[in-house]
Symmetry: C2
Subunit: 220 residues, 2 copies
């Protein structure tokens, strides 16, 4: 079983590393990290620098593909390009086609979400409709073989859900225990329906501004 | 406010990336990723390759230091070396000295945990005593300026706890909402007290074997 994490410049690190830490513990899984090009690739904080060793072209038919989100991923999806093309082609052969956060918009641009129910980061939920998807506030949405997760940290829940389907409940529980995933957040503000309205508005503004700033400074 | 993530070959990616995704959203924080040497550094799956740009020596007095754990970190701590020396010296000046998972054993080797209450990955809890620490099963332990987190995923809870102390509850809640940290694990097996005994024993065996295998193949 080949599980491909499709990275790109400006992805959000935790979107990928959460499910990575789950799937790398799955017995029999071959996890591979791919990108359009080999070589250095930075996250959306420009503080983590990854050396990617495998291109999208080298991994055309993964059993599971995972697309993380990022600050300007909505615009990357809209622009199209090799990542979107790869998802479209790979999806024909996958067992599971998945995304975390705004990675869903890449799936959307590849035509994967047409007629599906899906989720993404709450800040980006309105953009699912343009790809023919119905947005929900669920944290992990399984619709056929397409599985989408909400923002950033939701990829851990997605991966454990998928491991349960791929290898059974006991394997998923063992991995949960291995990464000691017994979350105890000190606050209960992790969803827009739970956070105070003023905080939600603030985060909405900050994220809109961050996207605009990063897009303006993007070499693309 | 300077926040230093101290990486080393064989660290566990999520241990660092969980709190990284929290602290990089903290207004006014300068997050810096450091290691003994500049250049390539691999995680304990050998599938993620990081290019590190700053040495420990370049960042001698961070306000917050964070040491992630890893599969062979217990042995790295016992062996001592530049990372342990750096923690010992930097701790004199920190506002908060922190660890995730078996990173606690590095703090211990640096003398930071002597007489403290602390936590680590459940699989390694027995090893805290050799450093004069009292082990607890709490997920995040604050003892003076030393803050330790349980295994792997617990670093997210640690970081949100610290942001609350550094910048107030509202900032912490805003960051929680930004990373949509509203965890909904599909199972409730994330702590040894919650997992079935057979699964706990299995994970214990697998982790012991992984540590032995990785240590045997370590170039050190």
């Amino acid at each position: 079983m080949q599980i491909a994490f499709a990275l790109y410049p400006g992805f959000t690190a935790l979107d990928a590393i959460g499910p990575y830490q789950v799937f790398t513990n799955l017995p029999g899984a071959e996890v591979v990290v791919v990108a359009e090009r080999r070589g250095r690739l930075d996250d959306d904080n420009d503080l983590l620098h990854f050396e990617v060793e495998h291109t999208l072209d080298e991994v055309p038919t993964p059993d599971v593909l995972i697309v993380p989100g990022g600050t300007i991923t909505r615009r990357i999806a809209e622009a199209g390009g090799p990542l979107v093309d790869w998802v479209r082609a790979a999806h024909e052969h996958t067992t599971w086609t998945t995304s975390v956060c705004t990675g869903a918009l890449v799936l959307g641009a590849a035509g994967v979400l047409d007629g599906k129910t899906a989720t993404t980061h709450w800040h980006a939920a309105e953009h699912l409709a343009r790809y023919g998807a119905t947005s929900t506030e669920q944290r992990v949405v399984v619709d056929g073989k397409v599985v989408t997760a909400a923002g950033v940290s939701a990829g851990i829940d997605l991966a454990l859900t998928l491991v349960g389907k791929l290898a059974g409940d006991e394997v998923a529980q063992a991995i949960q225990l291995g990464i000691e995933y017994d979350p105890q957040p000190p606050y209960d503000a992790g969803a827009p329906s739970k956070a105070p309205a003023a905080i939600r508005d603030l985060v909405d503004q900050v994220m809109t501004q961050a996207e605009a700033d990063m897009w303006a400074s993007s070499p693309a």
